[in-house]
Amino acid sequence: MDEQILNNLIERSKLNDQKAFRSIVENYQYMVYSLSFRLLCNEEEAKDIVQETFIRIWINLSSFRTDKKFSTWIYTIASNLCLDRLKSSKHNLQNNVVNEALINMISSDNAEQDLINSELQTIISTLTNELTPKQKNVFILRCIEELEIEEIIQITGMTAGKIKSNLFLARQTIRQKLEKY
């Protein structure tokens, strides 16, 4: 979305314009859903996080400064909510049944076939279930969502060194897991 249009939508939303806020939700809900689905490996929980994230954004919109990146702010709220969910006992871990899709994903350098959500969540869950919430968060943000280290520093509040060490450990754990296949 164009930055000027986005800033205009934010300013209007700050003045309680719900139509403007709806446009923001429509534009960013996929991004939040993608991150929360990949972190939580659960469709329903991911949708809950999307809802909670946007409600928090609406409530705290007045404190958002337009000199910051809006997507980074959204990522910060969403990833904090996901981390809380991962740490809590409420989080439902899916049954990790390794299927053909995972084997295909590992062996193929360009898997064309689109996976359904249940297959995707099984794969991500199988690969990342031994990671700590922090390692998982950093791995998803850096390797899958392809965010810059600077942006991850803002989102997680960790130092660059900590991010790199968490990323190294996450990659090592996943690499060891892949050796089995």
């Binding site: 993608s34 360009n110 898997a111 794969i123 996943i174």
Partner: protein
């Protein structure tokens, strides 16, 4: 070899975006909650109740202070009369038990007159005895 496996997997995971099937429903649900959270009726109602009860409390306090001031003024007005009564120093029960109030003022004077007439009679009989 293992790095290739890892990189392949990561690349493929990047391409696979989770599908959001009922996006419009989710948006509607979010907007519904946003409307609920931004509905100012409850806080306004509470603020009104608080304002009204605070004003009532202040008014009552003011009224109480005003009443107290009036009572003190009335007591101050009646004070000389009471002083005279004390100076008479009559140990009559009706005076001792009297409430320092304007309502009982006539009654008090009547008591004084009665007790004075008794004392006068006694004094007269004393003078007569002395003369005799």
């Amino acid at each position: 070899m293992e790095n290739t496996k890892l990189d392949n997997t990561i690349n493929n995971l990047r391409r696979q975006k989770p599908e959001l099937h009922d996006a419009t429903l989710l948006t509607d649900s979010i907007m519904k909650q946003v409307t609920l959270s931004s509905n100012p009726s409850k806080p306004t109602f509470l603020i009104w109740i608080r304002t009204i009860s605070s004003s009532a409390a202040v008014l009552l306090l003011g009224l109480l202070i005003y009443q107290q001031t009036n009572v003190t003024e009335i007591e101050a007005d009646t004070a000389p009369t009471l002083l005279v009564e004390h100076n008479i120093n009559i140990d009559s029960e009706c005076i001792q038990n009297q409430d320092y109030n304007r309502t009982y003022l006539l009654k008090t004077y009547f008591c004084h007159m009665v007790s004075n007439s008794i004392k006068n009679q006694r004094l007269q009989s004393y003078y007569q005895q002395l003369n005799n």
